[in-house]
């Protein structure tokens, strides 16, 4: 294999398994055997890599206080203010958590880990207005992202964020709530058409009593658990939640469903069913070892086939993180990252619903594409922001209160707002080989094959910096 050939393969691998690669690393890794490069992606430090922004002890105290306030009938003005302050603080912390994760993705030395976390974040889509719950679920997804799918699934199912979001907190003996049981099978494991309504009912009964307590820890409440006999996929017994998960994992349809979703995220929007079957078989036979599944995919010849290279539309997170990594961007006002996410249609921790973001071409419409093409110059040249994202529906209460008494309250007289970010151009330019031509730079920065038009557009040789901004502003840069 020629080293040029390997150059493109490694670049493709790092675009899909991570968020791109620097020229220096690419050059170094291209000289290695591809299978060694793949192994290297999985050799990551074992120690915990949690986000610890939200202080758990303080949050639990706050939660107890909040529960106390909600239980009271008549609140004093001071107590009302306390309650509002807690909500306000939670909203602020939720935004901080979002930024902390985006910055972690930008700076991580373990890109595969964060990419997998992003995948599971969309798969086990969840919203929580409690930042401690959200952080905990994110850490569960990160810790188990390349481990056992069963452990991941059980941990997610026990997380207060999910218990709350899918109403298992209200799922009690004699009064089942089927929300979690339904999504567990429809969206998390088997997929539509592979279970009956009766299976959902029986599964819901089995998950009764899975709850979290006042301070936000998982608790199994035996007195709320339905201990009766259940019939689930033809099996009969006094099942609990873990039994249900085991039975679901015994079905090869689960391996296939997860493999198809992985394929669509990492390989191609349109699944090749033969390739999906290949992955599903390996995944099932490995007893749901996620690393095995991923290695199988990254080592497959078809992963590097032309139809799978430079053909996927980057998600907004991939686009923003990739751009920031590529040019070593620091954000002096990181709140802008939230504005960009919401304008582009992927505000992390806030998926549209439990099905996650639909992805693919649905990321792109006239306005989001225009914005994507302008963002590189906004971020890299510190441009002025003249657009605003939609208010998140969960922020409506804040909006309601911030609108003042005047009839003109709805007119936004916002001061000019700038991205206030800094790209480290020197660092970026230092990674490039001496004498690199504009065309070589384009071959590095863009994933799709160069066309004559692009070659011509950059042939004026405006300098590496200007050419880089131009390239990052092209529609081709939206693909990976």
């Amino acid at each position: 294999m020629s080293s040029k050939d390997n150059f493109y393969k490694v670049k493709h691998l790092y675009n899909r398994a991570g968020f791109g690669i620097s020229y220096t690393d690419l050059h170094k890794l291209s000289r290695k055997n591809l299978s060694k490069v793949i192994d290297g992606l999985f050799k990551q430090p074992k120690e915990a890599d949690d986000i610890t922004l939200i202080d758990t002890v303080a949050s639990k105290q706050q939660l107890l206080m909040q529960a106390g306030l909600y239980a009271k009938k008549d609140l004093t003005d001071e107590e009302k203010k306390q309650r509002q302050d807690i909500i306000k603080m939670q909203n602020e912390k939720s935004r901080d958590l979002n930024i902390a994760w985006v910055e972690k993705m930008i700076n991580t030395p373990n890109p595969l880990r964060e990419k997998m976390t992003l995948f599971w974040h969309g798969h086990f889509a969840c919203r929580s207005n409690n930042p401690m719950f959200a952080q905990q679920l994110n850490n569960i997804q990160r810790t188990n992202c390349l481990g056992s799918f069963k452990t991941l699934l059980v941990e997610v199912s026990k997380s207060p964020a999910m218990l709350q979001y899918l109403n298992n907190q209200q799922n009690r003996k004699g009064k089942p709530n089927e929300n979690f049981a339904r999504e567990l099978m429809e969206l998390f494991t088997l997929g539509r058409g592979n279970y009956s309504e009766q299976d959902i009912k029986e599964s819901a009964r089995s998950f009764t009593g899975w709850m979290y307590d006042k301070d936000g820890s998982f608790i199994f409440r035996p007195n709320l658990h339905d201990t009766g006999t259940k019939t689930f996929f033809g099996k009969i017994g006094d099942f609990d939640g873990e039994n249900i998960i085991d039975i679901i994992l015994d079905k090869p349809e689960t391996a296939e469903f997860i493999s198809r979703k992985v394929y669509k995220f990492f390989v191609n929007d349109t699944p090749n069913e033969a390739h999906v079957k290949e992955l599903a078989l390996a995944f099932f036979n490995s007893k749901y070892d996620i690393s095995e599944l991923m290695k199988k995919m990254f080592t497959a010849d078809w992963f590097y086939a032309p139809e799978n290279v430079g053909t996927k539309i980057k998600s907004p997170a991939e686009f923003l993180v990739g751009l920031s990594r590529e040019f070593y961007v620091t954000y002096n006002k990181p709140q802008v990252l939230i504005q960009l996410q919401s304008s582009l249609g992927q505000y992390l921790f806030n998926p549209p619903n439990v099905a996650g973001w639909p992805g693919g071409q649905s990321w792109i419409d006239s306005s989001s594409l225009m914005l994507r093409m302008r963002i590189p110059s906004l971020v890299l040249n510190d441009g002025e922001i003249d657009f605003s994202g939609k208010a998140d529906p969960e922020d409506e209460a804040v909006i309601a209160q911030s609108k003042t008494a005047t009839a003109n309250a709805n007119i936004k007289t916002k001061p000019k707002s700038f991205v206030d970010a800094k790209a480290d151009w020197q660092k970026f330019l230092d990674t490039l080989p001496k004498g690199i031509t504009p065309v070589e730079l384009a071959e590095f920065l863009l994933q799709p094959k160069l066309t004559d038009k692009i070659t011509k557009m950059i042939s004026n040789n405006a300098g590496l910096r200007n050419t880089s901004v131009e390239l990052a502003s092209m529609p081709e840069y939206q693909l990976c």
Binding site: D74, L75, K80, R127, L187, T311, K312, I313, S343, N353, V354, A355, P358, Q361, S362, I364, D365, S366, S367, S368, L369, M370, M373, R374, P376, S377, N381, G383, E384, D386, K390, A391, D392, P393, E394, E396, A397, I399, A400, Q401, K403, A407, N408, N410, I411, K412, P448, T451, K453, M457, N460, A462, N466, V469, E470, S473, P475, E476, Q478, L479
Partner: protein, 399 residues
């Protein structure tokens, strides 16, 4: 002109020469009388869950006053429409609209197994899904997908905002979001952007790159079409000073200049009134009503009211009983406002909500919101609602 001004981006360059791809020309040359027959739909979204019971007040029902001691609107303040219901006093601007027969209120609209999360319920209203179903396309987006005669271009559905709502996204076709047609026109006429579109034939495949180029071309041609069609029109009407009224003013400009757009989408935010509701909601209802009244009168002056239907919704109503903070919490069914010059039933369409027969403190819905959508799709947009809503919904007689 500097080729890289797009990349410096902030100082917009002056509009360049007109750029219209060849395939757009036949449309622009269409006969004017054909354009005049256009029926428009304007969708107004009130975000946050507007409290319908303090919007259209059931002043004839004692239960309302019992459950809302701190926030009820006194009978003498209500703008009375019937013996039972009337408008919030902040909506005085709509009195005239009502008296002209340009308004109808549909009471108690909702859906089975209602969701009280803003996000999820808005998702349900925008996609037209069941409450346990997740759709990735919006109801207007699917209307665009349905290959209606005029749905070929993104400007068939325009949202007056910086970003596009899910409601406007179909599988293969999407509407276009713009706050200011001139700004979008300048951006798409930027030399860098135009250079990207030159000799683009090699990209017009069905793959993702082809899709990106197709979107760019459509954006560019739509921006030119919208700007060039609407810039000739100058509204003489006076609108109140509010962001919401400005959105409607933009829509009026588009409609009155004869733009071949069928659906417009605007929104007003801030209705999540958990605390001290009366004044907050009052301000918003005032903006809504004054903006709407100015808009409808403007359309009337331009002979466009007959061709326009306005529908207003919010993701849910609020609980019947107020909370301890003189606000209201998330509820279920809600009223919808319909405006237009050709309403079949004017005033109040159906019975007021029954306040004595509640579902754990919440209103039970009388009409499914998809019956309202279905009516609009069948009778106003001339498509079969089953093709858009995935099953057939019975239509209503308001148009």
């Amino acid at each position: 002109m500097d080729r890289r001004s797009f990349l410096r981006n902030t100082g917009f360059v002056a509009a360049g020469s007109l750029f219209v791809p060849a395939f757009m020309k036949p449309l622009e040359a269409m006969a004017l009388d054909e354009l005049n027959l256009y029926k428009n739909l304007v969708v107004v979204q009130l975000s946050g869950g507007n409290d319908g019971l303090n919007t259209v007040i059931p002043y004839g029902n004692d239960i309302y006053y019992q459950k809302r001691k701190g926030i009820a609107i006194k009978p003498e303040e209500v703008i009375k429409l019937t013996d039972m219901q009337g408008l919030n006093p902040n909506m005085a601007a709509l009195q005239e609209i009502h008296d002209q027969g340009w308004m109808t209120i549909i009471n108690d609209v909702g859906y089975p197994n209602p969701d009280r999360s803003h996000f999820r319920s808005m998702d349900i209203w925008q996609t037209g899904s069941e409450s346990n179903q997740f759709l990735s396309t919006g109801w207007i987006g699917r209307y665009l997908d349905s290959n209606c005669q005029t749905c070929k271009f993104p400007y068939t559905a325009i949202e007056v905002d910086d970003s596009l709502s899910l409601a406007m996204k179909g599988q293969t076709k999407k509407g276009i979001a713009l706050k200011d047609p001139a700004a979008l026109f300048r951006n798409t006429n930027d030399p860098f952007f135009k250079a990207m579109l030159q000799n683009d034939k090699e990209h017009l495949d069905e793959d993702n790159l082809g899709y990106l180029y197709k979107t760019m071309i459509e954006t560019s041609s739509s921006a030119s079409y919208i700007q060039n069609t609407s810039k000739v029109y100058q509204s003489k009407a006076t609108y109140p000073q509010s962001g919401f009224a400005n959105q409607l003013k933009t829509v009026s400009k588009f409609i009155s200049s004869g733009l071949k757009t069928r659906v417009y989408y605007v929104s007003l935010s801030g209705f999540d009134t958990h605390v001290n509701q009366v004044q907050q909601q009052g301000n918003l209802l005032k903006q809504y009503s004054e903006g709407m009244a100015a808009f409808l009168k403007d359309l009337k002056t331009n002979n466009k009211l007959e061709d326009t239907l306005v529908v207003t919704f919010s993701e849910f109503g609020r609980r019947v009983e107020q909370n301890a903070s003189n606000g209201t919490d998330h509820g279920t069914a809600n009223n919808m406002f319909i405006f237009g010059g050709r309403l079949k039933k004017q005033g109040i369409f159906n019975e007021a909500p029954n306040l004595s027969d509640l579902d754990t403190g919440d209103l039970k819905y009388q009409l499914d919101f998809r019956q309202v959508y279905g009516t609009i799709l069948d009778k106003w947009l001339d498509v079969n609602n089953a093709d858009i809503l995935n099953k057939k919904f019975n239509t209503l007689d308001f148009i």
